[in-house]
Amino acid sequence: MNILELKNVSMIYGQVKALYDVSLSVEQGEWLAIMGPSGSGKTTMMNIIGCMDRPTNGSVILDGEELSRLSPAELTAIRRDKIGLIFQQFHLISYLTALENVMVAQYYHSMIDEGEALLAMERVGLKERAKHLPRQLSGGEQQRVCIARALINYPRLILADEPTGNLDETNEHIVMEILRKLHNGGSTIIVVTHDPEVAVEADRTVFLEHGRISNVVRKNDVPDAVKAKDMQLSSAR
């Protein structure tokens, strides 16, 4: 069953075709990676899938709901209820503690539950650091708080933008392990990344070039080593 479907989606700014006639389906529980060089349309695609923008043409169906004709307020409600966002730059609120940053997502969704927020912190291994401010946390810890915040409302889709882009190797492994567990638990994950080591974990990798899908590689199609090398080549192009 498809949780997300893009049909002939285009995003055109004046003369610039940021995304052009893209069609893509994502199954429930699938891990999809989106790769491509800068300017290939990755961010535009993330904005559209993340309900932060509406396409110029085409239709987007998320969890059975057509998004392209919804108002900004309706898109906010979809984003709040169905999508968990993980950012490359973490984007934690500087004046709130790690726990409060997680609770903010609860607050906007429905009502706060400190016990549940603490459980989410525990899932990312940061229960002991719950009362710390973001500036008192390392980059990896901040990203794990960001992940806890994304998971707190049980989203239908987890959307991650370069989740390991600002992390060292150790923290990259920790974050990837969390994502792996989420995937194994049945979560649907879409990751935008430059990193072939991250993309190699995905069930399927979509390559974007000049706003179009140029290539699709499935995890089961080729061995990981070959696939990673192929990805590096595609990414370099």
């Binding site: 307020a73 209820d81 490359q88 984007h91 004046y95 906007y108």
Partner: protein, 373 residues
């Protein structure tokens, strides 16, 4: 969570918020100070205005030419003691000095000093029974000076002639009709004329505005039917004009202060919004709607307004006292209702100043968090 976010935002980003808080507190200080002074001006200025002279005269009602002093005493019962500055009777009779006729005015000099503080007396005010003040025009004409002895003659009420030696204790100069009068004690004039208990007019100086004076005049007419009270329009209207202009000036200053406070708060809040665009974008990205964002910023504004208002109210009290002591020489009486009113106005001004920044905040796109701006 809402309050936690507001309080954390204010406490943990204190430098920016202190700037806004200072602006609001200063605005509230000046506002309360000005309001307190404006509210107290009539009381403060009421006494000052009494240097203009009497603002009410009592004359006999009906056809009577002379006012009975027992009637004027009855009229005085209506006037609040704290408002009554002075009440001076004047009895006018014709007397002669060296065969030349002059108007003699019998009066109560202690009261005259209160109702006519503008009298410029060279020499001394009369103390003894036979001491007199003469107007400057008479002094010039007769070449009399303080200390001069004169002989005053005339006819009493029963037609009998009288003669008395008197001493000029001082010369009065007002630039008005008083310069042509001879002033003596009322009991002295009564003794010369052979009757007492009457006066042509009683001048009254009351610390009150025009409306209060009109109300008092009506009350006097009711309470003392033999008295006809009349307002000295020249004085009462001047006072009203000056008071209203002074209050308008204070109102304008307060208005300007409020506008400046609004501009300052709006600028600070706009800076805050610009600094927090990423945070606003993030909140929207994780599900905050425009109403939540607006509520957070307006909540911060209201909290700042309350804190600034309370701080300004305390400082404003001392500001009003300092201004009042310097300008009027006495402290201000603060109407306690001005305190909550100042806090409310501070909140209203702060919220109004936040409206435009809040609109800008609501316009922030959630997508900017993905663009890494």
């Amino acid at each position: 969570m809402f309050m936690k976010m507001l309080v954390s935002s204010l406490i943990r980003r204190r430098s920016r918020m202190l700037a806004a808080l200072c602006a609001i507190a200063i605005g509230a200080t000046v506002l309360l100070g000005m309001a307190a002074i404006s509210y107290d001006i009539p009381r403060q200025m009421g006494r000052e205005f009494r240097s203009y002279g009497a603002n009410m005269v009592l004359v006999a009602s009906g056809e009577d030419a002379l006012l009975k002093l027992e009637d004027s005493d009855r009229a005085a019962e209506v006037i609040p003691e704290k408002s009554l500055v002075g009440m001076t009777p004047y009895r006018y009779e014709i007397v002669r000095i060296n065969m030349q006729g002059y108007t003699a005015a019998g009066t109560d000099f202690d009261q005259a000093r209160r109702t006519s503080p503008y009298w410029n007396v060279s020499g001394a005010w009369p103390k003894e029974e036979n001491d007199i003040l003469i107007g400057s025009d008479i002094a010039e004409f007769t070449r009399l000076a303080p200390g001069s002895a004169i002989n005053i003659t005339g006819r009493a009420s029963d037609g009998a002639r009288f003669r008395r030696d008197m001493t000029v204790s001082g010369i009065v100069r007002t630039g008005s009709v008083e310069d042509e009068f001879i002033f003596m004690r009322l009991d002295t004039l009564d003794a010369l004329m052979g009757n007492s208990g009457v006066a042509e007019v009683v001048e009254v100086s009351i610390a009150a505005d025009e409306d209060e004076l009109n109300a008092l005049a009506a009350a006097i007419s009711n309470h003392a039917p033999g008295v006809s009270p009349r307002l000295v329009k020249r004085v009462t209207q001047s006072e009203t004009t000056v008071l209203s202009k002074l209050q308008s000036l204070v109102f304008l200053v307060s208005l300007i202060v409020l506008v400046l406070t609004m501009i300052c708060v709006a600028t600070t809040m706009m800076t805050v919004v610009m600094e927090r665009r990423k945070e606003i974008g993030l909140k929207k990205a994780i599900g905050a709607d425009n109403r939540s964002i607006a509520a957070e910023f307006l909540g911060e504004g209201m909290l700042l307004g309350v804190m600034g208002g309370i701080l300004g109210t305390v400082l404003g009290y001392f500001f009003a006292q300092a201004v009042s002591m310097n300008v009027f020489g006495r402290g201000v009486i603060l109407d306690w209702r001005l305190m909550p009113a100042t806090v409310l106005v501070s909140v209203a001004v702060t919220v109004a100043a936040c409206l435009w920044p809040v609109k800008r905040a609501a316009d922030v796109e959630p997508a900017l968090v993905l663009r890494g701006e």
